[in-house]
Symmetry: C2
Subunit: 326 residues, 2 copies
Amino acid sequence: MAEPNHRKGCFVGVDLGGTKILSGVFDHSLRPLATAKLSTKAERGPAIVLQRIARCIQDAVDEADLALKDVRAIGIGAPGTVDVSDGTVILAPNLDWHEVPLRRDLEELLEIPVQVENDCNAALAGIHAVELKGKSPCTVGIFVGTGIGGGVMMDGQLQRGGGYAAGEFGHVVLDLDGPKCSCGNRGCFEALASRRSLIQRIKTAVKSGESTLLSEMLEDLDSARSGDLRKAYRRGDKLVRKVVDDAAHCVGVMVANLTHVLNPDVVVLGGGVLDALESEMMPSIEEVTAQRVMGNARKSFRLMCSELGDLAGITGCAYLAKEFSV
Amino acid sequence: MAEPNHRKGCFVGVDLGGTKILSGVFDHSLRPLATAKLSTKAERGPAIVLQRIARCIQDAVDEADLALKDVRAIGIGAPGTVDVSDGTVILAPNLDWHEVPLRRDLEELLEIPVQVENDCNAALAGIHAVELKGKSPCTVGIFVGTGIGGGVMMDGQLQRGGGYAAGEFGHVVLDLDGPKCSCGNRGCFEALASRRSLIQRIKTAVKSGESTLLSEMLEDLDSARSGDLRKAYRRGDKLVRKVVDDAAHCVGVMVANLTHVLNPDVVVLGGGVLDALESEMMPSIEEVTAQRVMGNARKSFRLMCSELGDLAGITGCAYLAKEFSV
């Protein structure tokens, strides 16, 4: 009798975030078998985070009724600049990591091949492999969450750039005199449409006397998640509607900008803000895009929201682990 | 005795612009042998323009003491969207061309293989082949002239996008509430830094009472060329300085934006405005770029001005003609 599919070996994807680690076990066809979650505790330093990544992988493998020896390869998406040739995290501000040899250290610890990639690149690779079935040669991914990142795929290959720093869409300037960004410039996409920037705008408005349902819903506006924004939006909160609608407009402008640079076949949107507020934001994004994208670029491209949600990152990491291990 | 190099066959590059046609004959090593120039007369329609392209090619070939039979292949750069697979100009607003089968018609007329390309893509290919010696895998070209265009090269290959509309940098929005652009949107790069937009700003300022040396130098401000702007700038014209300095700032922001999207090895600048005002604009462009480009993208990229000037387009067209004919 043939072994069940996942007994032939499975692949693990890990999404390493600033606050949490998400891991998932996938079979050969990239079907998810189990996931696990753990807080990152980045403040304890890279060595401890490494132990927690290993524990989170072990948890997911256990959950799938498998053992580490069944894992053929591991892919990890890190929130920063990654030298994919040797798996070093060059810079990850949210983790306060500089030049951390993640692949080397994790391979030593687990004795399993490890592939490290930028988290947004990994998510784009996952969406491309699973949702787009590997079609769409030129695909751009825009991920709007706490911050904003992205990825570029040409001829079906991730384009990382000469310094592994391509796809930093959050720091594309859309508004020369716009609000200050954490990077020091003004009017970056991230300062206009990230969850952090939306909450900042809401807080500023509340200070100057405007009201929002979020003040009743939450003890602290800073703790507002994208799901809270959705609830307030649906309950008719004027301030939240204004702020979210403006963000949707900016996402539309960004889609048009990237279309004028690369004329991709597909632009895919994802990330916590868009996952939670898709039905609120997409009509406006589509309208802005339809108005602004010119001529032949308009005819030839498709705009879509990823349906993988949180799973995009770990799916992509498992995909990259599989790609590099065969 | 060996024949002189160009007797082995030469290549012709043609830069088809809205107002003039420039053609050049190149030897096998892409050294220019002769050039010729003719007005386009686009208003007379595609069939007449085709005749004029042929005449301009004939003029350059004559000038080089060669005959049409010595021409191995012709490359043409057209100011619009080009389907390079069949050499059709899909859309060229400055010529008022829609779906003109330029390759087919010119091959019929001259019985020489013809390659058609977008003019900015051709210029980038020429700069990449001749100035960068084919190195620099990921290269981005920004061409600031009457309008603004560009090109993207990855792994040494032009990236045209799914609808042959990549590299339309002129319509990347940098300023959400910026000045109106001819495309209908606001704050496009072209509405902030093209020669047309600079002259528009100067005219508006003059109407509201400001003065400029250009009013003494020229009968009509609309006729101001980039060289006129340079003269006025060097003679200390405050209005021209302000307008040109603002444009340089925007070019710097655009360089940073493209660096955050693609993390290229080289960003090359060209076009009439930058050719004429290089020493006035580059310090500011470099300063803005150094301030804004983040982390690893900054370390890994080089910013340069092309030295080919007007010849970039025809050199690139000759290069593409040669590439496709061997």
